[in-house]
Symmetry: C2
Subunit: 183 residues, 2 copies
Amino acid sequence: MEKNRENDVRLRLIRAGLCELEEHGVSDFSLRRVAAAAEVSCAAPYRHFKDKNELILAIIAHVRESWELLAKNIYEIYSDKKDRVVQLSVAAVRFWLANGNFRSVLLTGQSELDDPRRKELSKFDAPLTSALSEYTAEANKDKGELEFLVLSLTYGAVSLTVGGNISTEAAVENLRSALHSLL
Amino acid sequence: MEKNRENDVRLRLIRAGLCELEEHGVSDFSLRRVAAAAEVSCAAPYRHFKDKNELILAIIAHVRESWELLAKNIYEIYSDKKDRVVQLSVAAVRFWLANGNFRSVLLTGQSELDDPRRKELSKFDAPLTSALSEYTAEANKDKGELEFLVLSLTYGAVSLTVGGNISTEAAVENLRSALHSLL
DNA sequence: GACCGTATGTTAACACTGTTAACAACAGTT
DNA sequence: AACTGTTGTTAACAGTGTTAACATACGGTC
């Protein structure tokens, strides 16, 4: 019961923090506002997280879990190794674009001043790279070069959309056709 | 003399702000620290910039100028239209990677909460796209598709390097060969 | 030359932020 | 029953962006 209470507050903080991140972005992330939203005192977060940074880290880890769940689903749905790569790449773009202000954290790890864990957690290419290496093994293609191209196009599609050059759908369509002619 | 003084402080603030950005990143950007580094009082910046955000904007504009100068040089050095595209793309990657913590601002425009001007100023593809459209006109190639590929690979190379997947040199080398086989 | 408005700097204050210390309530252990 | 550790509170600290009130010097007008 008491252990539940603990997890309750911790989870509420993470959820409220996620909203805060979406609403105010990372540079205006207010720990006190998060605490207020979670209906606890402004010092309560320090019982669960060492730092404001540590809370943000936990939030990123939380989002990452949901991404890996999604990626796992996609991986299981598609049995063709080439399809997996294409679908995972497109899904990665969609997922990250859907995560609003979160993107600056996820894409760049915000800055290298922040501990590397943030950058590590922000990587969302693990499912993609493993699917890709399975494909290259099967198709007898050069892995190194292809990995650069696929990852680069994926990240690039995100950046391009964020930058306002193209719409999400245009990015996805371009990415899809590029990958198909590439693989 | 007095007009010089004005520009002096303004410029000193921008320069100090640039250092601050490199040292502390955008989320820890302290206006008071910048003012102290520029050896003025903490309220002085408000005589030259409406906001902390407006100062950051001015800093970005400042960096953008130097990028466009560099791009112009490259454009003039290389007369072959294809070479221009490749060199500009590589230079863009190098330039952005060299600008440290600045990247989060430049790449993503930090967040869409911030006024769109920041995002607009952060775009560094204008020289690249114009060189590219000159190339496609000359070589009779499809512009739309190629533009996505080139820009995507360029941005992607930056993201990939920032993410820690590959080194700068590996990214540049991969990018170069990809562009050569693409154009 | 005296006067005035404008531009640029200062200091002092405001509310807000992250963080910590001191304290209270409660669980489980011995 | 006494002790210990966990989780929450409130109160305080320094640092932040921002604004208001004041000071000073400059350029143009009578």
